[in-house]
Symmetry: C2
Subunit: 183 residues, 2 copies
DNA sequence: TATTCTGTTCAAAAAAACTTGAACAGAATG
DNA sequence: CATTCTGTTCAAGTTTTTTTGAACAGAATA
């Protein structure tokens, strides 16, 4: 099959400095939000390249294992941070990076935050139930206050997410902050 | 000194179910935002108690090591998530939880996000510099586009933070979203 | 159907993060 | 000054997370 130069083994690409630096940006960002290094590397790799990349090209450019590439691409797909790109006549999967900040953030929030927020309703209710077992009345009252604080926090967090997404929205919107009406 | 019941060794408190559940809430939350379990436990412990707690009381209630308590309190102080509470006639430090969601979030953002955002300006500039070494003109142009994308993202993130804090602000404010003016 | 091509899986290895507890430092007390 | 009290430090141990790569599965090809 073709020249032996096309062999799979060791075609590790040497990246130019600007690509290394750009990928580093994403590695920092993913680490900041608690995602593994390899995910930042893979997204960064796609971000730097003008063309869609394949599994193999990503592995070669980054010099990481097949397992990491496979898992990383899976997570990025789930987050909506990359988009499969169909190339006629090729059996390989090609990927392009999602470039809309709004969609990136939305995917992340949907995956990581929304499930927690949703399930927290039940957990707070269950706290309320177990609160009935507290014999010390004063303490029970205090615990109830704190439970209400948690509910307020939860409600605010829920309301915050749409606001964040709107602020990042591709359609440039303006926000005005109005002082609360006196009632 | 006093009855031997007051001995330091093994005074591990048994927590009521509602406290365990409430602390669990904070453990989940801290883990969600990438802080260690012990930090969630300590804050949760303070959150549940009506009185300020000391180092020792926290350790006893949670059954964790002195090192973890010391480190955890340090981080929480740095985040502004707990407040030292002076008690006359005691040599110990007492702590109360910060209960303002806005201040909690602000402290977290200041500690974790703002430094990254600030330093990113320099890093993006340095990418621009190293970009000059790219011989392929088309690729250089593409890289420059992407660099501008990164700058836009950074700018948006920077503008987002005040918005988030305002939305959580104790002074209830209302936001209105206006469609962008057509220019 | 055998072979090659693509990508996934998962047990084991490696790395990173967290916790522990003994030693330490400084301040208050006697 | 010696002792006790309070809390910090940090090396070592533990746990968790991430990465690796060999084995595998399925689809296309010959």
């Amino acid at each position: 099959m073709g020249s032996r130069e096309s062999s799979k083994e060791f075609s590790v690409t040497e990246l130019p400095a600007w690509q290394v630096a750009m990928i580093d940006t994403f590695v920092r960002a993913t680490s900041l939000i608690g995602l593994p290094r390899s995910i930042g590397e893979i997204y960064g790799c796609l971000f730097c390249n003008p063309n869609p990349l394949t599994f193999d090209e990503i592995q070669d450019q980054l010099g990481i294992s097949r397992g990491s590439v496979s898992g990383g691409l899976k997570t990025l797909r789930q987050l909506g941070a990359i988009k499969p790109h169909y190339v006629p006549g090729s059996r390989k999967d090609y990927y392009l990076p999602e470039l809309s900040m709004e969609r990136l953030v939305r995917g992340f929030i949907k995956d990581k935050f929304t499930p927690h927020l949703d399930s927290s309703v039940d957990r707070l209710e269950s706290i309320e139930v177990s609160l009935a077992d507290e014999p010390d009345l004063t303490l029970r009252q205090h615990a109830n206050d704190r439970l209400n604080t948690l509910r307020t926090w939860r409600r605010r967090a829920e309301k915050l997410l749409p606001l964040v997404l709107a602020a990042l929205g591709g359609t440039k919107q303006l926000f005005s902050i109005k002082e609360k009406s006196p009632n």
